[in-house]
């Protein structure tokens, strides 16, 4: 019964479970208090911060914990915009950003600013030249994902960062899909601000990372508190943070080995699925991609029916087809790439995925798609 949707949420890493339980016993007190229980909680929080900061190449005082990846993106980006409001509030993003980035963009547009959504090619890669040309004297910030969440394409972040540095405009990097999967170093990427999310790497849900580099102008919007350097209000979920750190540490140790194991499985799906099934399109970049994620679309098939039928056959995947979205709009990522939006399947492998799981996928998907084409609205084709 393969679970092939780790990009939506990965199961808790065994290393995280142990730490999570221990931290509920030892890390329940308020880490800002001076008593011994508070000091013990503070020590746990400091250790988790130091551990995770090192793993993403940041200083501990640059790292803040938030309540989710989306919160990190929201706070990270709006903080940059607020700090540079006097230059203008314009924003440059790629057309294939996560909805959390696009939600900030819509708010900014509502406030009268100009948002430029820079297009991508058929593989989903953003055009560096177009991105740098979109930067003007009124641009307050640029936001670009490290890798795309729907198709796995890795973006030329360092090249865009160089253009941003030349224009003296800060860059927010959404690294939610790459932390724990690819080497992520905030300095090497050239990010001013970086966001990530623990449940993508086998940490508990409800922990976001927000890195704000030293010297970057960033201002909190909304009420300010003392906790988390004034960047994230509220009592930090310390047990979850400690478990997220333990998980990231374990996953980072396994990372290169796991990438070397999973990437050939992704290659096999990419090359084999079109041989076994007519009228499908495997999307995203073949080479510059996440090691564990692959997406394809099947002509004449309803994405919801496909996901439901695969689930019935014991295979869990997700879909960017409009019939699977509450908005009934097709995925903005697939739309921007100009690839098929219906019959879409995203497969993301995890540390539990075996070569046998992939063979099962390669066997079951063509059967299910043929069945749906025979029995669905495409029957008379």
């Amino acid at each position: 019964m393969p679970y092939l949707d780790s990009a939506s949420g990965a199961p808790l890493h065994p290393a995280a479970r142990e730490v999570l339980l221990a931290a509920y016993d030892e890390g329940w007190a308020d880490p800002s208090r001076l008593h011994r229980e508070g000091r013990r909680a503070r020590a746990l929080l400091d250790a988790a911060r130091e551990q995770m900061a090192v793993l993403v190449g940041a200083r501990p005082d640059e790292l803040t914990f938030t309540s989710s990846g989306t919160t990190s993106i929201s706070a990270g980006l709006t903080g940059l915009l607020a700090a540079r409001a006097r230059f203008g509030g314009d924003l440059v993003v790629s057309a294939v950003e996560h909805s959390a980035v696009l939600a900030v963009a819509e708010v900014q547009e509502g406030a009268g600013a100009t948002v430029t959504r820079v297009g991508v090619d058929r593989a989903g890669t953003v055009d560096v030249v177009a991105m740098s040309q979109a930067i003007t004297s009124t641009t307050a910030a640029v936001s670009l994902q490290h890798a795309n969440h729907e198709v796995g394409t890795v973006q030329p972040v360092a090249a865009v960062a160089q253009q941003c540095a030349t224009a003296r405009v800060p860059l927010h990097v959404d690294a939610a899909q790459t932390v724990g999967r690819l080497p992520v170093n905030v300095g090497a990427l050239g990010a001013s601000v970086l966001s990530a999310s623990a449940h993508k790497w086998g940490g508990p849900p409800g922990v976001g990372l927000l890195v704000v580099r030293k010297g970057v102008r960033w201002r909190a919007t909304g009420p300010v508190e003392e906790r988390e350097a004034g960047r994230a209000p509220g009592f930090v979920n310390l047990p979850a943070v400690a478990a997220a750190a333990a998980s990231l540490d374990a996953v980072s140790r396994e990372r290169d080995r796991e990438a070397a194991r999973l990437s050939p499985l992704v290659d096999r799906i990419r090359s084999e699925m079109p041989l076994r099934l007519d009228d499908i399109e495997v999307v995203g970049d073949h080479v510059r991609r996440l090691p564990h994620l692959v997406t394809f679309s099947c002509l004449y098939v309803d994405g919801e029916a496909l996901v439901t039928e695969l689930d019935r056959r014991g295979i869990s995947v997700s879909s960017g087809s409009s019939c699977t979205a509450s908005t009934l709009r097709p995925s903005h990522v697939l739309e921007a790439m100009g690839v098929l939006t219906h019959g879409n399947v995203r497969v993301s492998l995890g540390r539990d995925t075996t070569a046998e799981d992939v063979e099962e996928l390669l066997r079951v998907v063509p059967e299910v798609v043929r069945h749906l084409r025979r029995t669905g609205p495409a029957a008379a084709l």
């Binding site: 009228d279 399109e281 002509l299 004449y300 098939v301 309803d302 087809s321 409009s322 019939c323 009934l328 709009r329 097709p330 697939l334 739309e335 100009g338 690839v339 098929l340 939006t341 219906h342 019959g343 609205p377 495409a378 008379a380 084709l381």
Partner: protein, 78 residues
């Protein structure tokens, strides 16, 4: 100046992938070189009709607003 439409396929009210399926079913009803028009009010068809043309080797001519939804025009190539 738009070319004469040889066949209009009305898929108004039908969701993806029905507009593309109807196009695939009826492209053979017109002569090679003739133009088929798909009427659709489904957002996905604006993306999927051009992609279908690319995958199947037909010419996508463009989209224009119709009384309801959009009219997507395709030239049969083979």
């Amino acid at each position: 100046m738009k070319e004469a439409v040889a066949l209009t396929i009305d898929t108004l009210g039908r969701r993806c992938p029905v507009p593309v399926i109807e196009l695939a079913k009826h492209i053979g009803d017109v002569a090679v070189g003739d133009v088929v028009e798909v009427l659709s009010d489904d957002e996905a068809s604006r993306v999927d009709v051009p992609v279908w043309c690319r995958m199947k080797g037909h010419d996508y001519l463009g989209v224009s607003p119709a009384a309801v939804g959009n009219a997507l025009r395709v030239r049969r190539r083979h």
